[in-house]
């Protein structure tokens, strides 16, 4: 229980860092500033869903998505829905892919791209987004992926250890 509490606290801290410290670091370069979007919470969410299963992935995704909508946005529901879906569907494949760190990273990559496109699509529908698809893909998704995959690589081993611990505590 204590490990789980600390895990959620870590996600909350990452959530705060995304909008503050990361933004300060990026503000030095106006080009990167437009392109790189930190998705640290989503990366951790994918890890969590892989190890804890689809139901917990869904709950975590929904709560952090709604939080993201409220704090960093104004329209409620877009991130709540997409992050819940991402949590649920990565949770579905958890039995196959959690064995190997390489497979985990591939899952994170695929889920991140899917996530970005879902958010883009929904924002396009409600006309918050404005970029044409090619610009979106090359100037937003790719730079963001580099940043987030580096983050995923860095946290893959510690996250796996903590999540396995939580998993064992449950059983």
């Amino acid at each position: 229980m204590k490990t789980r509490f600390l895990f959620i606290l870590t996600i909350l801290i990452l959530f705060v860092l995304e909008g503050t410290v990361v933004q300060v670091i990026l503000s030095g370069w106006s080009d990167l500033h437009l392109a790189m979007v930190p998705r640290f919470v989503v990366v951790i969410l994918i890890f969590a869903a892989l190890f804890l299963g689809r139901v917990q992935g869904l709950i975590l995704g929904l709560s952090f998505g709604l939080l993201y909508d409220t704090v960093y946005g104004s329209v409620i529901g877009v991130y709540g829905f997409t992050m819940a879906l991402i949590g649920y569907f990565t949770g579905l494949v958890f039995k196959i892919f959690k064995q190997n760190i390489f497979l985990i990273l591939i899952t994170v990559l695929v889920a991140l791209v899917t996530f970005e496109f879902m958010v883009y699509g929904l924002f396009l529908l409600i006309s918050v987004a404005y970029l044409p698809v090619e610009t979106f893909l090359f100037e937003k998704v790719l730079p963001s992926l580099i940043l987030n995959m580096i983050f995923a690589l860095l946290v893959a081993y510690p996250a796996r250890r903590i999540l396995v611990e939580i998993e064992q505590e449950e059983n």
């Binding site: 705060v16 860092l17 995304e18 909008g19 503050t20 410290v21 990361v22 933004q23 300060v24 670091i25 503000s27 030095g28 106006s30 500033h33 437009l34 392109a35 979007v37 930190p38 939080l67 409220t70 704090v71 960093y72 946005g73 104004s74 329209v75 409620i76 529901g77 877009v78 709540g80 829905f81 819940a84 579905l92 039995k95 958010v119 929904l122 924002f123 409600i126 006309s127 918050v128 987004a129 404005y130 970029l131 937003k140």
Partner: protein, 293 residues
């Protein structure tokens, strides 16, 4: 292995999609005062974000200062030179002001004074996804902030207050393409050219000052300020300079690209413009609140 789409799960997915569409639809419109739940979450996170943002900004500022160390000497000399110009200029402004006042008195002119006070605020977060061009500041309803107030930095206009919580408020930046509020502006040329700033060009990073009559002489480098028409923003706030003038698609009007003077990426201290002349009744009320604090 559970099947991906059993009937029950499909129904749940459909129902949740419908709920999402409904919630998005309900919250899509402009909501200057959000619900108390959102206000509570934003204020709570605002507190922790200000704890994270301020030290980060200070450390970044320290490194920037180290970088600027080398150019400091040459910059100092340049500034000294411009300071002399400045003294001349302010003497001239004083002279013109006196002249203006004298002329107005002669004409018995009643001016509607647009006075405003500046409320300083600190940025505490910036929306990380670039779909929302938004920052949050650490001042809210309790400090006297109201929706649609103009927000400036020392360099110029940067946006407006979009939604207000008790202790924090969200600022919509000029670079927001989805901006719902157009800014009435005026180009200071030989004669004042009035118009509306209607959008933002992301690639050129400039504001679009559209639908100017074709004959109007526009030049690159002319200054654009807010005109105060419409009453949302006070007049005379500096926006930026014209960087490009081009005809529109049908060659009927022309469009000017206005580069904002304020740096929209590097935001730290901001000022919220409180128009005092529009709401004279509320001034004693805010004074009382300040005394209580």
């Amino acid at each position: 292995m559970p099947s991906f789409f059993s009937n029950r799960r499909l129904i749940v997915l459909l129902v949740s999609t419908i709920i999402m569409v409904a919630v998005v639809g309900l919250t899509l419109k402009e909501r200057p005062i959000p619900s108390w739940g959102e206000q509570f979450i934003r204020d709570t996170f605002g507190f922790f974000q200000s704890l994270a943002y301020k030290p980060a900004r200070e450390i970044a500022g320290f490194f920037e200062m180290m970088g600027e160390w080398r150019v400091l000497h040459s910059e100092n000399q340049r500034l000294k030179a411009s300071l002399q110009d400045n003294a001349k200029l302010s003497a001239r402004i004083r002279q013109l002001e006196l002249e203006n006042q004298a002329l107005k008195e002669m004409l018995d002119y009643k001016e509607d004074r647009h006075e405003y006070t500046l409320l300083s605020a600190q940025v505490i977060n910036r929306s990380p996804d670039r779909w929302y061009q938004m920052v949050t500041i650490d001042r809210g309803e309790k400090h006297g902030i109201k929706p649609n107030m103009a927000v400036i930095t020392a360099d110029g206009l940067i946006g407006r207050i979009k939604s207000v919580s008790q202790f924090t408020s969200q600022v919509e930046l000029l670079s927001d393409v989805n901006r719902t509020l157009n800014i009435s502006a005026v180009v200071q040329g030989q004669e004042n050219i009035f118009g509306v700033i209607e959008g933002y060009d992301l690639e050129k990073r400039a504001l679009l000052f559209e639908k100017i009559p074709k004959e109007t002489p526009l030049e690159v480098g002319q200054t654009v300020i807010t005109s105060g028409i419409g009453g949302v923003f006070p007049p005379g706030l500096y926006i930026g300079k014209i960087v490009e003038v081009s005809p529109d698609h049908y060659d009927l009007t022309q469009t000017a690209l206005v580069e904002p003077a304020a740096n929209l990426y590097h935001l730290d201290f901001l000022f919220v413009v409180q128009q005092t002349s529009l709401e004279p009744i509320e001034i004693p009320h805010t004074d009382d609140e300040e005394n209580e604090e």
